[in-house]
């Protein structure tokens, strides 16, 4: 568990501080609502048997995606996991494209070739969603290396879970990034669980990412991942550091996934009451209160909610109407020649 000092650090930066400004706050709110509505819709569509394959929702973790995306500039790059809907949407990828991919339609982001676990939208800086634990941490280093080499100010951001901190690639990437002083930000979303196993059962330190920062000469950063303002501020500091050429950051965000690990998981392994306690700290609930505290009118909030709902409804209809992908695309994009030309 987090120490008292951790809790103090995690809280710091929350509360009534108007450094963020109304426009950004409304954006952070809107993003979170988009993620929530789109993913809840994905779940409904799954129940209707319209989402095939697997899918991994981030319900309850929206503040992390919104806070980081809110701090990103256009050239910045996101590297996500199979639990990547939220991060993909947060960069502005249309809901229709994401739901289309989950529904395996021709209007999907990758026309059904990738599926829910591999959402990619290079145009939006979403450089892929990776389904092998840890794989994308070194890859994000490489993208950061390009920026460093070219003298660009682009930053690569790599999102992953608590469980990912125990795999070899995590270690190699963190050391590598620190030694090369790469402009990359490693964001650990500690949602307390791997698939079904509590992270504490299999990790030698209480905070799987933060307690390891020192092993890479990095500062220990542990924040409240359910408060988009806190996330946004922490992100800004890390982006500034990266753009100033001062190297990587490792940020552990304390959060909770309110859904099961994947679509099929009823999450029975949770202790009684845990989910309810975390729902009291639901990021959207927190943020709605925050807006009200800052004097945003209820009506403005309701308008955003309604707009978002309409976007998601329209996307749903578009996807339902979309055809499945044509069969001839199975042969394209294996190699750059467009086909699968492994022989003459």
């Amino acid at each position: 568990m987090a120490t008292a000092k951790d809790r103090a650090q995690a809280k710091a930066g929350s509360g009534l501080n108007d450094d963020i400004g109304e426009q950004k706050r409304l954006e952070l709110y809107r993003t979170q609502v988009v993620l929530r509505e789109a993913e809840q819709r994905a779940y409904d569509l799954f129940l209707q048997n319209l989402v095939k394959g697997t899918s991994h929702l981030s319900l309850g973790q929206e503040a992390v995606a919104a806070g980081f995306a809110g701090a990103m500039k256009p050239g910045d790059l996101s590297f996500c996991t199979y639990r990547g809907h939220a991060h993909t949407l947060a960069r502005g990828v249309p809901v229709e494209k994401v739901l289309g991919e989950l529904m395996q339609r021709d209007n999907g982001l990758m026309r059904g070739k990738g599926g829910s676990m591999h959402l990619t939208s290079v145009d939006h800086g979403v450089m892929g969603s990776y389904a092998i634990i840890g794989a994308h941490l070194p890859i994000a280093c490489g993208a950061a290396w390009r920026a460093q080499y070219k003298g660009d100010k682009d930053v690569s951001v790599c999102f992953f879970g608590d469980g990912t901190t125990n795999i070899g690639a995590f270690h190699e990437a963190l050391n590598f990034a620190a030694v090369w002083k790469l402009p990359v930000i490693f964001v650990c979303e500690n949602n307390l669980y791997m698939e079904y196993t509590p992270i504490g059962d299999v990790t030698a330190v209480p905070q799987p990412a933060a307690d390891r920062a020192s092993a890479y000469g990095l500062e220990r950063i542990l924040i409240d991942g359910n408060d988009a303002d806190v996330v946004y501020r922490a992100a800004q500091i890390a982006f500034d550091k990266a753009r100033a050429g001062e190297g990587p950051s490792l940020i552990e965000c304390l959060t909770y996934r309110q859904s099961g690990h994947s679509r099929a998981d009823p999450a029975k392994y949770r202790p009684e009451g845990e989910l309810d306690r975390w729902k009291l700290r639901d990021p959207i609930k927190i943020y709605r209160e925050r807006l009200l505290q800052f004097g945003v009118a209820e009506r403005v909030i309701a308008d955003i909610d309604a707009q978002v709902r309409k976007v998601v409804d329209d996307a749903t209809e578009a996807c339902k109407a979309a055809p499945p992908p044509p069969l001839d695309i199975i042969a394209t994009d294996v190699y750059a020649d467009g086909g699968w030309a492994w022989r003459n």
């Binding site: 394959g53 599926g115 676990m117 795999i167 690639a169 992908p325 069969l327 199975i330």
Partner: protein, 326 residues
């Protein structure tokens, strides 16, 4: 005799061996308290307790490395790698450590362990969770490689694998987990390196593995019904050791060879069997040996796309018919 799912057969197979031998231990991600992501290990933790059924961190190298260290010092570990695609993150153990330790040490070190894994396509999981990796393993000298196609074989071959003195890769097909089959009561122990002729025929031999076995059988029925073509279907079951005698014997009777693989096209076990037959039984063959495979592509996620890339009964039947009638 009882009807059992392939999934439950895995549970029964592990339990049979753990009950028999207290040195059999089991480790993997989410395998203990949660019963495994495919529910193929439900109840083992409750039955055998936390010392023998252990949840691990997401550390595939540590899982396989620990299995090896335990095996070389006297335990009989069963390690689960959740999806066979993840062999790539722990491939050093599979390719360089397990299979070489006995040889490099001139027989001093033994590595009797089993790696169980969920292999194969059909679940719309996309390119990184759907692969058939039997050739990743078959190509490595020192490994044994097994892939059962039905619940009875799951138990029998798993028992044989656990009792084997060498490292065995045990490939469970994810799409077979819900399928059912008759399983006799009592202990079941099979023999590695034995293929099974599941259907006799005189016109052609079809070798298949795992999920492709029921498809090959279905294709054979279609060929018989529609075209009067009579195929012998061989369930290869064990890639290493490979029962070449059964395969060569069948080809000697039918004079034609077809292999049905879920592997991508290049360097699969089909190529190995074709090469053995073409070399050793060239004059038995009345026509070209033909491989039916997944095309040489990463697997697509969408159902409609995944369905057309895996060999289907229709594609198998059509390929055999065209080849025999040309």
């Amino acid at each position: 005799m009882a009807e059992l799912t392939y999934r439950d057969a895995v549970i029964r197979g592990i339990a049979q061996e753990m009950s028999r031998d207290p040195d059999v231990v089991f480790l993997g991600e989410d395998v203990a308290k949660a019963g495994g992501v495919f529910k193929a290990t439900v109840g083992l933790y409750e039955q055998f307790g936390p010392l023998r059924v252990r949840d691990t961190p997401i550390s595939e190298q540590a899982i396989l490395g620990a299995a090896m260290g335990a095996a070389m010092t006297g335990l009989k570990p069963i390690a689960e790698i959740m999806f066979s695609d993840f062999f790539a993150v722990c491939f050093d153990y599979i390719a360089n450590e397990f299979p070489k330790s006995r040889y490099m040490s001139n027989g001093q070190v033994k590595c009797p362990l089993v790696v169980r894994t969920g292999n194969g396509a059909g679940s719309r999981f996309g390119a990184q969770h759907s692969q058939s990796v039997e050739n990743w393993c078959m190509m490595i000298p020192g490994l044994k490689v097994v892939a059962p196609s039905n619940p009875r074989d799951v138990i029998g071959l798993l028992a044989a694998s656990v009792r084997d003195p060498d490292p065995v890769i045990f490939l469970e097909h994810k799409s077979l987990y819900p399928t059912k089959g008759e399983v006799p009561d009592g202990e079941i122990v099979d023999t590695l390196g034995t293929a099974k002729v599941l259907r006799s025929g005189k016109d052609a031999t079809i070798c298949a593995l795992a999920l492709m076995v029921p498809r090959a059988l279905e294709a054979a029925e279609k060929l018989k019904a529609k075209h009067g073509i009579d195929c012998e279907v061989v369930d290869v079951r064990s890639l290493v050791p490979l029962d070449t005698q059964t395969i060569l014997g069948s080809v000697a009777r039918t004079h034609r060879l077809f292999t049905v693989e879920e592997n991508p096209r290049l360097c699969g076990w089909g190529a190995e069997i074709v090469s053995i037959v073409a070399d050793e039984a060239f004059y038995d063959l009345d026509g070209p040996p033909v491989r039916i495979t997944t095309p040489h592509i990463p697997l697509p996620a969408a159902d409609i796309l995944e369905d057309i890339v895996l060999p289907t009964p229709d594609r198998i039947a059509e390929t055999v018919r065209r080849s025999l009638q040309s």
